[in-house]
């Protein structure tokens, strides 16, 4: 992991890190990269990926209206609203 890559990940995740945090994270990554060598010892080329550990199939519910929350309830915890809309800074100049 290079510092340039860390900068990209910061931007991608909409975070801003201090120089000290960057140093800590780079050290953390160095440890994780070493650990990958342990996993590389196992040949998994013929092993299927396991996303779900249990026999779970995609569930499709009937398309019916349920639990209709009121707009004012949904916006109760919003940082800023105006006449039923969420407010954000202007996005189109």
């Amino acid at each position: 992991m290079e510092r340039d890559m860390l900068r990209k990940l910061e931007l991608l995740n909409q975070l801003r890190l201090t120089e000290e945090q960057k140093d800590d994270i780079l050290a953390f990554f160095a440890d994780r990269e070493k650990e990958m060598e342990t996993l590389e010892k196992f040949d998994t080329s013929a092993t299927e990926r396991m996303v779900h550990v249990m026999p779970i199939t995609t569930v499709v519910r009937e398309d019916v209206v349920s639990q209709p929350f009121a707009r004012e309830d949904l916006q109760r915890g919003a940082p800023e609203t105006d006449e039923g809309y969420w407010c954000v800074p202007r996005v189109v100049e």
């Binding site: 945090q21 994270i25 650990e35 998994t44 550990v53 779970i56 919003a78 940082p79």
Partner: protein, 398 residues
């Protein structure tokens, strides 16, 4: 010492505290994060509803570490809880002190099991998919489980009986038939495998707990054999990858727009997102987010994330092989029963190392019981059988 994020007065004799990862109506649920400070859900967790129906009254919300990925709760926005120089977990302390009969928690990265071991409580992390996760704050959905902590194995079993069951509202909920299996009476395991490699790095107190438990098992006619399994020991590495990748996606929803924390200063939409997330998220969480997104990047997806998914199958198959000869696996829940402030200050990423002991059950979805300061993992749906073993300790008064 702030054990409760919110305290609720009740005169009920059967009380429950739920940690701040479990949604409640009318009281805030913060996930221990400034990002959700003051957030109140419009609905409550299915497990909570079921327990209310079973006669338990909610007595409060326990503080939890930010998104429950730390050691014992020390990254909570409300600060760490220290007693006698030791870090302590809020849910465990509330149950130990008798302020609540049980605690319902979300086991994401093993903090619940470490807390139970440290406090001498019994905990059960049920078989994945048998207890609804509806109404819990999602972090690492493929392995996290609603868990129970109590003073006795019988209480854990009773609570599991109330909360286990199919739930249409949870897409990962198993069928009623499969869920019912965790409630069935089962005899205690007769042959237990001790994961020898995991006993090497533990301190004297944990080693003593393990030895005492082994002696107890042997005295009660349970055969204990040491086994070495290098595959199970890789669970931590695989889980750190999977947990961080899932966490990175799950916390991407927190942007300061629809709910949660919003920074005061910003001049455009990008600054609103970035400043809100930067100011609200803690250091451990930021590290996990960055790590998770790196594992999912084009450069690393196959090498890291895909590898972890394949290793998950290798680990599950290794457990299946062990369970051909054994009924349960014995291992520590943590390397020490006394994490000090100094230990955590010296290694801020200790939670990504201490999960050596908790990751095997998290990554495989298998049930895990902590009792007498040690941990037992069983085959899927053997939850009741594991609790039967935990009862041996109570009979012996240990």
């Amino acid at each position: 010492m702030k054990l409760f994020a919110t305290k609720i007065d009740t005169t009920s004799e059967r009380t429950m505290v739920v940690d701040d990862m479990i949604l409640t109506k009318d009281t805030p649920t913060t996930a221990g994060s400034k990002m959700l400070d003051g957030y109140v859900s419009l609905f409550e967790a299915e497990a909570l509803t079921r327990l209310k129906n079973a006669g338990y009254a909610l007595c409060g919300k326990a503080n939890v570490g930010e998104f429950a990925i730390d050691l014992l709760g020390e990254t909570s926005q409300n600060g760490k809880i220290v007693s006698g120089g030791k870090l302590i977990n809020a849910s465990a302390e509330i149950v130990s002190s008798g302020e609540a009969t049980i605690a319902i928690t979300l086991d994401v990265n093993g903090s619940v099991r470490r807390a139970a071991a440290q406090s001498g409580l019994v905990s059960i992390k049920p078989t994945y998919g048998t207890v609804s996760r509806y109404g819990t704050i999602p972090v690492a959905c493929s392995g996290e489980t609603v868990s129970v902590m109590a003073k006795s194995a019988d209480t854990c079993r009773e609570v599991l009986g109330a909360i286990a069951g199919h739930d249409d509202k949870d897409g990962t909920s198993l069928s009623e038939e499969l869920c019912a299996r965790v409630k069935q009476n089962e005899s205690a395991p007769r042959k237990v495998a001790l994961l020898k490699s995991m006993t090497v790095g533990v301190d004297g107190e944990v080693a003593e707990k393990l030895n005492a438990f082994i002696a107890l098992l042997t005295d009660n006619g349970v055969e204990v054999c040491e086994i070495d399994d290098e595959v199970i020991a890789t669970s931590r590495i695989a889980w750190n990858i999977l947990m961080s990748a899932e966490l990175c996606n799950n916390v991407s929803r927190y942007d300061g727009v629809k709910y949660g924390y919003r920074a005061q200063n910003f001049s455009n939409i990008d600054e609103l997102y970035t400043n809100s997330r930067t100011e609200a998220f803690g250091e451990l969480l930021k590290t996990a987010i960055i790590f998770g997104s790196e594992t999912l990047s084009t450069e690393n997806y196959m090498k890291v994330y895909d590898k972890a998914l394949r290793m998950r199958r290798v680990i599950v198959e290794a457990f299946a092989k062990i369970f051909e000869s054994f009924d349960a696996v014995l291992l520590p829940a943590c390397s020490t029963l006394a994490y000090t402030e100094e230990t955590v200050s010296a290694n801020k990423y200790l939670a990504f190392e201490e999960n050596l002991y908790t990751a095997p059950a998290s990554v495989s979805g298998l049930p895990a019981v902590v009792a007498g300061g040690v941990q037992l993992i069983g085959k899927a749906f053997s939850d009741s059988a594991l609790l039967e073993l935990a009862k041996l300790l109570e009979k012996e008064g240990k």
